[in-house]
Symmetry: C2
Subunit: 404 residues, 2 copies
C-alpha cells in the first residue's frame, strides 16, 4: 500500500488489513507500545490483549532521522534495503528473526518479537557469557558472505544482487563519512574528551595511518565481494544462551566481506578494552579473546567447507583449477580476507573513540580518567590494526596486535 | 521507437524519420552499403547520392551474434551499453566519433564516418607510425577513467554510474569466459597450433600462474574502479597521423581501471612480438616499446594532474589528507594500477594465443613455424606479466619483462 506514517492511532487498523497478521492475532484487540530506542526508525511492540504471548515487532522507517526529527531528512528507502537483506539472509541462515510481513512502499517490516533475548552489547557490558555465539555468528557470516559472492553465485546472479542494493547510497555515504573520514580529521560531528586532543591531532597527520585508511575506504566503495549486513556490531545482534539473531541491516550493500567480519571483531575488541580496564580479573576479557579466535577459526572453516562443496561459480568454472591450484588460491583468499577484516576493524575501533557514535562499553565508563584510558587503549589497538593489517597471517597475529 | 531490424529496404525510411538525420542529408536519396565485418552487429555506411562527402555510420545490434546467426542468441541490449558509454566518454574526451543519434529501444547508434582513418591494428601490421597516438590515448584513458571513479565523482553519482552499466551481464560474462577462463584450460572453444599443446598443458597446471589469473578474474568481477571501455584493443581504435578515435564500447561496465590500460598494453606487446620476429630491423618494434613507455608515463601524469585539480570526491573529503598523505596515497594508487594493468595485459596476451579470438598481428603470420614462434614469445611475455605483476614498479620493469 502507499506510504502513511504509522502511530498508535492507526497501527491496529493497518495490522488488521494484513490477513496473515490478523490471523496471527486472532483479530483480538492489541496493546501497542512504542519501544524504539534506535536513531533511525519507529519500532512498536504489539501484543494481543487476550494472549500476551502473541507479540510482534513492527518497524517503520520515516523520511527523516527519528532521533533528530523532520529537520534531518533521510530517505525512508533505507527500509527497502533492510527488508531485502533480511529476507535474503533468512534464506541463507537461521540467525534472522522470523519475518511475518514486509512492504517496501510502506517501509514496514513485521517480525518475531525476541522476548527472551537481549542486545548483545548490553549483555557483554554486564559480563554475560554466550557460549554458542561464536558458533552461530561464524555460521551466519560464512553462509551469508559466501553465498552472495562470486565464489558461489553465477556472474549474472551476482550482478542482479548488486542491482538490488546499489542504490542504498545514503547509508553507504553515512559509513564513508562517519567510519572512514570525520573521525580522522577535524570535524564538527566528532565528540571526544578534551584530553584526547593530542591523540586526535597526531592521528590526523599520521601519513602511514591515513594512507591505509584511504586504502580501506577505497575498498569499501569499490570492492563488491558479497552482500554485507553493513553494520554488524554487537548492538545489531540479539542473544541469549541458546540463540543468536542478527537484526538492523539497513546498511546492507554489496561490499568487501572484511567489513562485516571486521565490524564484529572491532566491537569484541572494544568490549575487551572495557573489561580489561574495569574487571577485577581477566576471566571475561580472556573469554572475549577466545571468542575472537573462535569466530575467525570457525568462520574460515565453514567458509572453506561451503567453497569445497560448490562445483561451479562465477569465479570457478568446472575443470579450471586442479586441487593444488584451488587450495593455493583459497589460502590466499582467506588471508586477504583476514587482513582486510583487521584493517576495517581498526577503522571501526578508532571511529568509536572520536566520532559522533561511541559505544556504550567505553562511553558508559563513568570515571573520566578510566574512560580516557579506555579510549587510549582502544585507539592504540585500532592504530596497530590499521597500520599492520597487511601483515596479519593468523589469529595469533591478531592476539599480538591486541595485547602488544 | 520500438525495435525493428534495419536493412537496405527500410533504412532510408528510418533515417528520414529522424529530423536531425533528414536535415543532415538534405532529404537527398541515399546510397546504402552494409560494411560491418565485426562479429556482433550490423553496420551500414550511408552516403548522400548528390554529396558523397555526407556520410554516416549506422550501427544496429540484432538479438543474436551476427557472425553466427540466429542460432547464437545474444541480447541486443549490448547496444544500450555502447550508447551509454560512448555518450559518457564523449562528454569527457574528444577521442570519440561524433554521435548524431542514438536509440536504446532500436539498439541503434548513428555516428560520424571516419573516412580518413584506419583500424589501428591494420595500420600497425603495415608498420605505420602514429606519432600522436600515445598523447591521445593517454589523454582518453586518464579522462575517462579518472572522471568516472571515486577519485572524482561523488559517492552517489558513482553508484548511479554503476546502475547504468551493472546489467551488461552478457558481455561481462563473455570476457570472464574468454579472457580469464577457457584459454587456460581444456575447452572446445580454444584454437591453437597442435605444436603448442605442450605449452597449453603446462599452463593449465601451473599453480602460480593460475592462482594469479584467479586473482585477476576476481578483480575483474568485483572491483568497480571506473567506467571501462571493456575491450580497448587496437581493433577498437581508429587512427591516422592526426587523430585517434575510440569505438566499439559494447563491453563497457564499471570495473578495474587496469583492465583498459592492460588491454592496450597487451595489444601493443603482440604487435611488438609480430614485428620483432618479422621485420629486418628493430626500428618499428623499438617504437612500439617507446609507445608503451610513453602511454603509461603520459597517462599517469595526466591522471595525477586531474586528481590534483579535484578539490573533493567520494574518496577524498576536503581537509582529510595533507599534501604528504595525498602524495603517498597517490604513489601507492598509481603503482597498484600499473601492476594490475600488467596482470590484465598478461591474461589478454595469452588468451589471444590459445583462445577463440586470435589477433591478426600474429594469427596472420603465414609461415607456420614463425607463427608458432610468435605464439611462444607472446605466451612467455604473458606468463611473466601474470606471474610478476605484483613486482612491477615502473615502465623499466615492463620493458624488462617484455625483453627478458
Amino acid at each position: 500500500m502507499s506510504y502513511i506514517i504509522l502511530d498508535a492511532s492507526n497501527l491496529e487498523d493497518y495490522l488488521f488489513s494484513l490477513p496473515k497478521i490478523k490471523t496471527y492475532f486472532n483479530a483480538d484487540s492489541l496493546i501497542i507500545d512504542e519501544i524504539g530506542d534506535g536513531n533511525l526508525n519507529f519500532v512498536f511492540l504489539v501484543t494481543s490483549s487476550s494472549d500476551t504471548s502473541k507479540q510482534l515487532i513492527i518497524k517503520q522507517a520515516v523520511p527523516y532521522l527519528r532521533c533528530v526529527g523532520e529537520s534531518y531528512p533521510l530517505s525512508k528507502d533505507r527500509m527497502t534495503y533492510e527488508i531485502r537483506s533480511l529476507e535474503r539472509f533468512a534464506k541463507l541462515s537461521p540467525h534472522i528473526p522470523k519475518i511475518y510481513h514486509s512492504d517496501e512502499e510502506m517501509s514496514v517490516l513485521i517480525m518475531e518479537y525476541l522476548s527472551s533475548h537481549v542486545i548483545m552489547r548490553k549483555g557483554m557490558i554486564e559480563g554475560v557469557e554466550y557460549p554458542k555465539f561464536a558458533e552461530h555468528i561464524s555460521s551466519f557470516l560464512a553462509n551469508t558472505l559466501f553465498k552472495t559472492s562470486s565464489l558461489y553465485l553465477s556472474s549474472s546472479d551476482k550482478r542482479k544482487l548488486i542491482s538490488q542494493f546499489n542504490d542504498n547510497s545514503e547509508l553507504c555515504k553515512l559509513t564513508e563519512d562517519f567510519v572512514f573520514t570525520a573521525p580522522f580529521m577535524e570535524d564538527e560531528t566528532n565528540a571526544y574528551l578534551p584530553e584526547l586532543t593530542d591523540v586526535a591531532d597526531r592521528i590526523s597527520n599520521d601519513v602511514e595511518l591515513k594512507t591505509k585508511i584511504l586504502q580501506l575506504k577505497y575498498k569499501f566503495m569499490n570492492q563488491s565481494d558479497a552482500l554485507l549486513h553493513g553494520d554488524l556490531h554487537t548492538g545489531s545482534i540479539m542473544v541469549n544462551q541458546d540463540d543468536t539473531y542478527v537484526i538492523d541491516s539497513e546498511f546492507a550493500f554489496v561490499g568487501p566481506m572484511g567489513f562485516d567480519v571486521g565490524a564484529l571483531i572491532a566491537n569484541l575488541v572494544m568490549s575487551w578494552v572495557s573489561h580489561t580496564l574495569q574487571d577485577n580479573d581477566s576471566r571475561y576479557s580472556d573469554l572475549i579473546l577466545d571468542t575472537i579466535n573462535s569466530v575467525w577459526r570457525r568462520f574460515s572453516e565453514k567458509f572453506l567447507t561451503l567453497w569445497n562443496e560448490t562445483e561451479e561459480s562465477a569465479l570457478l568454472t568446472k575443470g579450471f583449477a586442479n586441487d593444488e591450484i584451488l587450495q593455493t588460491y583459497q589460502e590466499q583468499y582467506m588471508q586477504t580476507l583476514l587482513q582486510e577484516s583487521i584493517g576495517f576493524a581498526g577503522c571501526k575501533i578508532i571511529r568509536r573513540q572520536f566520532g559522533i557514535a561511541g559505544v556504550e562499553d567505553i562511553r558508559g565508563i563513568e570515571d573520566d580518567a578510566l574512560r580516557e584510558k579506555a579510549n587510549r587503549l582502544a585507539i592504540e589497538v585500532g592504530e596497530r590494526f590499521i597500520k599492520q593489517y597487511h601483515t596479519v597471517m593468523n589469529t595469533d597475529d591478531i592476539m599480538k596486535l591486541i595485547k602488544e
